[in-house]
Amino acid sequence: MTMVDHIKTRVIPDRLTTPTERILKSWEALLLLVAVGIFILNSFASPYFLNAWNLSDATFNFTEKAMIAFAMALLIIAGEIDLSVASIIALASTVMGLVMQAGFGTPVIVLAGLVTGLLCGVFNGVLVTRFNLPSIVVTIGTMSLFRGISYIVLGDGAFRGYPSEFAWFGQGYAFWVISVEMVIFALLAVIYGVVLHKTNFGRAVYAVGNNATAAMFSGIRVGRVKLTLFMLTGLMSGLAAVCLTSRLGSTRPSIASGMELEVVTMVVLGGVNILGGSGTIPGVVIAAFVMGLVTFGLGLLNVPGIVMSIFIGALLIGVIALPRLFARLKGRK
């Protein structure tokens, strides 16, 4: 502990604010305030909002997206992006369907989904790191490729008839109103928080995102860090595919279409710099809740989806622009 403190003070010797002050002024605090505000507004706006089961239902709006968002946050902090995540879900779900049709049980189906996700991640990662291609270009390509394979396999058909135990992942409850997906979400939040903020690997991720060349000269294997992050993102997409397929009870090639942008929105709203180098896991966790609460709250008021999109967009721009605006005003004084 003293060791850590020692390093911290040496790295940033001219810190003027106390740790508490820093937390209060942080992005996460602002976002938490927004989340609490939305929660209060929602409970006044609709008589149905403050109900344990309803709130539990609402968590399904974001748990699957958040699973991917954690890995995506690390990837974006490291200066890369993966836009193929929703298509990985489609492909993983299709493979799960094929495995199911071949007569295998739940454990093999789940494993197939996870392995497919991981392999897609390896594919993206190898293209980006070995061939030095920009990740946005590679993953726009694989976005069409992965979903395209699903369309070839399924056409306008669907896989249905998953075993009943399989429904546990997306429809089951761990205890009381806490869904299995919610437990997975919470566990992942802790794991990713520890990995990013408390391990050497986490420091390496920030270093790569801030200055890849400098990181390389400091002995960090930049390529390997990036490849690992692509694999993690793929694996998380595979996990999300397991949960979503289980929740829907069927597979269609159009599954999860458009989800990649919602995941990126969640990450950016969570305070992760889209250019890389900074961001936190707690921020992404709060952003997940903010997005879930906003869509559910507006849904209870039967606000049309298009107005919801406008609201999320305004929220995103507002939360990003306001702190910079304040900083600039402060600078003028």
Partner: protein, 330 residues
């Protein structure tokens, strides 16, 4: 601060009371569509509102996702379950994916029906089809026969040889053909639902059968292409194009006279009937079981088959008298 809390509590209580009062009086029917902003569904919502006005104590909640995704519809349905609506009438983006969520809705005492685009049997209590294969098969030949009092030669321009819907409709049409004496079906060609191929096939029909009186195209792509081919060949008035089409795409052909009339479901009637069925099931005025009949107001009764689905009516006929009204809808 105290004042503020007091004020907020009052507001909350007022909203709560208001909502409860509304809930006690009105039967709340949610009309869930594939996506908002589609003319066809906006028209269906209009029909549902018409049913609500007729019934009096009904509130229609017209909602749906922004994109035609199953996930989006599930979010919408979850929020409707949370609001404890009385009935959900859904046109589904996915036959299977909505089933777990809709089952949950039924477990919580909500009446669930599907309309237009159906949900698998265990995910709904009843399904409303806009029409039936037999009614469509009869309608397409009737449209041609109505303008040929002395009989004549007609040809069919279909989609692909493997299009399930078109094949069934043509089969049904052949069954009722004896009811239309003098109508002679000279051939069936396939435009593969491609505009250019359908156009060439229609041209071919007119060359092969110089005395052709009508082309029946039970596909929205084929009917437009055939009307264009007839107009380009200068055969307006000689060859009448009819079948199934969309008013927005067929307005020009009706205006030019290349098509005297065509048919497709009427979304207003569909929304009206869906709301009526949902109301009657939610208020226990009817039950959903094989063989049961459910009243649909001005649209008559819906008779359920062994899968608890039923057909609303004959396809609705569009001609110069009503095309103006519908061409902006869908």
């Amino acid at each position: 601060m105290k004042k503020l809390t007091g004020l907020m509590t009052t507001v909350a209580m007022a909203t709560g009371l208001f909502a409860n009062a509304a809930a006690a009086e009105d039967v709340r029917i949610a009309l869930v569509v594939k996506a908002l902003g589609i003319g066809f569904f906006e028209a269906a919502a209009k029909g549902a509102e018409e049913a609500a006005a007729e019934l009096g104590d009904v509130e229609i909640i017209y909602t749906g996702p922004t994109d035609t995704t199953a996930e989006g519809q599930i979010e919408v349905i979850n929020s409707l379950i949370a609001q404890n609506v009385d009935a959900i009438a859904v046109s589904a983006n996915d036959t299977d994916a909505l089933v777990p969520t809709l089952k949950k809705a039924m477990q919580r005492g909500i009446t669930v029906i599907s309309w237009d685009s159906g949900v698998a049997e265990d995910g709904r209590q009843a399904h409303l089809n806009p029409s039936s294969n037999a009614l469509i098969g009869n309608m397409i030949v009737k449209l041609a026969a109505d303008h040929l009092p002395d009989g004549g030669d007609v040809a069919v321009l279909s989609a692909t040889t493997t299009s399930t819907n078109q094949n069934i409709w043509i089969e049904e049409m052949t069954k009722v053909l004896p009811n239309y004496p003098g109508i002679n079906v000279v051939g069936t060609v396939y435009g593969d639902d491609l505009a250019d191929k359908s156009y060439r096939e229609a041209q071919g029909l007119m060359q092969s059968y110089p005395d052709l009186d009508a082309i029946i195209a039970p596909t929205s792509v084929g009917i437009v292409a055939a009307a264009q081919a007839v107009a380009d060949a200068g055969k307006i008035g000689q060859v009448n194009v009819t079948g199934l089409g969309l008013p927005s795409e067929m307005a020009g052909a009706i205006e030019s006279g290349a098509s005297k009339s065509f048919a497709i479901w009427n979304p207003i009637d569909l929304g009206y009937s869906a709301a009526m069925i949902a109301y009657n099931l939610a208020t226990d005025k009817a039950t959903a079981e094989p063989g049961a009949t459910i009243p649909m107001g001005r649209m008559g009764d819906l008779t359920l088959d062994e899968t608890n689905s039923g057909a609303m009516a004959d396809p609705f006929v569009y001609d110069s008298s009503n095309i103006e009204q519908f061409k902006s809808i869908f």
